[in-house]
């Protein structure tokens, strides 16, 4: 059995043929990736559940009702039972999902935007600007995100907006590094040199050549950032530092459920936990599929 075969392709690609447009090819490669497609389906279902769900299944998620507390799944009107404070669990999942998704998306996008600008500037200018900006990034990266988040939220009482800001404040570092690397290499590409030779300037280099060519990296990274941000929200909740009730998110639901591990109240733990895994996994699968799609697009000779 030969599991290895040399993949050094010979020049049999030389013959030119019409190829489908880049965008179509990207979509084609993406849709061939079954895991990525599954990610899209899961994400769409979760979005429907969180935003359309409350219309179909309206519940009171503001007032506690201790008479209805900790009902097991299957109780009349409560498909998945109720929480320790008597909220309907299905309805609670919907509301919590809204916060988790909103905070995750907003923080992920914000972090990507800021990181992209930081990285592009650092990489394009190079030299001392780059050295200074990258040392700052290194230093901020050296302090593990969780520790930073905990210190910051120990000082400030989080609201949704603040949560978004502080998560973005630790999450922008990795896109910054990534985009900086990309900008560094794109800056020296021959097509940028060719453009400079025609008399083109820095702005044209950045906006017409560097950004469009780095956009794949940025989009892929953004999906991972959103996934990570949703995880951060849940970690903060676990450490007791999330948005105060009656608002909630999946992380908070999960960590308040942990108290009842001994009682066997599994419905207070697993639905929220699985929801997090599903949404984070979905974003990761999508990101992975996008990465393949963008790469093929660039590698294709």
């Amino acid at each position: 059995m030969s599991v290895i075969s040399p993949a050094v392709a010979p020049g049999h690609e030389e013959a030119a043929q019409a190829t489908p447009s880049l965008a179509r090819r990207t979509v084609q490669v993406f849709t061939r990736n079954k895991l990525a497609l599954a990610g899209v389906v899961v994400l769409v279902l979760l979005l429907l559940f969180c935003y359309v769900g409350p219309l179909v299944h309206p519940t009171d998620q503001v007032h506690t009702d201790l008479s209805q507390a900790s009902l097991a799944p299957g109780a009349p009107g409560h498909l998945l039972g109720t929480t320790d404070l008597g909220y309907d669990l299905v309805g609670r999942l919907m509301v919590a999902g809204q916060s988790s998704l909103e905070v995750g998306l907003a923080a992920g996008v914000l972090a990507t935007l800021f990181g992209t600008v930081w990285g592009a500037v650092s990489g394009y200018f190079g030299g001392w600007v780059d050295a200074v900006m990258m040392r700052v990034t290194d230093a901020a990266l050296a302090i593990p995100a969780m520790f930073l988040l905990v210190v910051v939220s120990a000082i400030i009482t989080p609201s949704k907006t603040i949560l978004i800001l502080i998560i973005a404040a630790v999450a922008w570092l990795s896109p910054a590094r990534l985009v900086r690397g990309e900008a560094l290499s794109l800056r020296d590409r021959e097509y940028v040199q060719a453009m400079r030779m025609m008399g083109g300037g820095g702005a044209r280099a950045v906006f017409r050549h560097i950004v469009p060519n780095a956009i794949g990296t940025v989009i892929v990274n953004a999906t991972f950032q959103v996934a990570d941000a949703i995880l951060y929200v849940s970690y903060l909740a676990f450490l007791g530092l999330s948005i105060p009730p009656p608002a909630t998110d999946w992380g908070s639901m999960l960590s308040s459920g942990i108290t009842y591990t001994q009682n066997g109240y599994w419905w207070m733990i697993f639905p929220a936990g699985i929801a997090i895994v599903l949404v984070v996994g979905a974003f990761n699968f999508i990101g992975d599929g996008l990465r393949d799609a963008f790469e093929v697009r660039l590698q294709k000779k």
């Binding site: 599991v3 050094v8 230093a139 901020a140 302090i143 120990a154 970690y235 999960l254 001994q262 895994v277």
Partner: protein, 316 residues
């Protein structure tokens, strides 16, 4: 090589310096300042003024920073507000425990992830690859505390074979005398790392398999198995060292959660408790030490990498 070392060392020093600034600013740049945070919203203006006077918070920021640096150089990280002990002596007890947990979990993770990644690369596009890929992504998508919780429910409640709490003693020896209590914390921490590293191994192996030197090895009559073992593995493993350095912050973050989860008396638990009680000297002390550990750790991994990779080693 020496040029590389000097450059890398200077970089690390600059980063360390910036880390102290960030930690310092964390305490001072936040609204209300330390006094408000410690005395709470009920603190009277007099109390706040007194607190600031005593703690030196009335001096200009640069002066405060200078004092902070001087204290750091004397190994003085301050006194805990709550525990009646110096932060450095607290860290002295707790840091080794965190290191033991982290190192053990990393060893387990690498031992599992490397063969797993190789297997996926060799079985690329086959069901085993898809299954493991999906598994790795799901493990990565699971919050560490949820993972720990599942392990506790399964291995401590449903099938009670491991305790749900880590060994408690203050000495290092207690960890090893009650080692069954370490199984679940280590497993919890290792699972997340396995997810990341097996992904790396898979793609590194695939990248290396397309290299021409693999074709050369085949042309010599080497078998696939031995090409993997003799040629590919080494080339894929060397960069893993750098990856370890890059993931140090993630490892420490993981330790924080795992320690809180299993009540393991390491630095993470100390930090968590400090966060609950607004014990700022401890919070900042731990943050600083973790930051320093990360910088030093990634410096070490870079050097190890340079030693392992002949291409860098011999550039003099």
């Amino acid at each position: 090589m020496t040029g590389f070392l000097v450059k890398r060392l200077l970089q690390a020093l600059v980063v360390l310096f910036l880390v102290t600034i960030i930690v310092f600013l964390l305490l001072h740049a936040l609204p209300g300042g330390p006094a408000r945070a410690i005395l709470g919203p009920k603190g009277t203006p007099q109390q706040i003024a007194h607190f600031n006077e005593v703690q030196g918070y009335n001096n200009p920021l640069p002066v405060q920073y200078w004092d902070y640096l001087v204290r750091l150089f004397h190994g003085n990280l301050g006194e805990s507000y709550k525990l009646n002990e110096s932060v450095s002596s607290l860290l002295g007890q707790r840091l080794p425990k965190t290191l033991i947990l982290t190192v053990l979990a990393t060893i387990v993770a690498v031992a599992v992830a490397v063969p797993l990644g190789l297997l996926q690369a060799v079985r690329r596009g086959k069901p085993a690859d898809y299954l493991l890929t999906a598994g790795a992504f799901l493990a990565y998508a699971t919050p560490v505390f949820f993972l720990g919780l599942i392990l506790i429910i399964v291995f401590s409640q449903a099938i009670p074979i491991f305790p749900a709490e880590a060994p408690q003693g203050t000495s290092i020896g207690s960890i090893f005398s009650g080692f069954s209590g370490m199984i679940l914390p280590i497993a919890t921490m290792a699972l997340g790392i396995i997810a990341m590293f097996s992904r790396y191994m898979r793609s590194a192996t695939l990248d290396n398999l397309t290299e021409e030197y693999v074709r050369t090895a085949m042309a010599k009559g080497q078998s696939s198995r031995r090409i993997l073992a003799k040629h590919v593995l080494r080339n894929a493993l060397i960069p893993l060292v750098t990856l370890l350095g890059l993931y140090l912050p993630t490892l420490f973050s993981g330790a924080l959660v795992v320690e809180s989860m299993f009540n393991y008396p390491g630095m993470g638990l100390l930090f968590w408790n400090a966060a609950q009680g607004s014990d700022f000297p401890v919070l900042l002390g731990v943050t600083l030490v973790v930051g320093v550990a990360t910088v030093v750790g990634s410096l070490v991994t870079d050097i190890v990498y340079a030693v392992l990779d002949p291409r860098i080693r011999s550039v003099s």
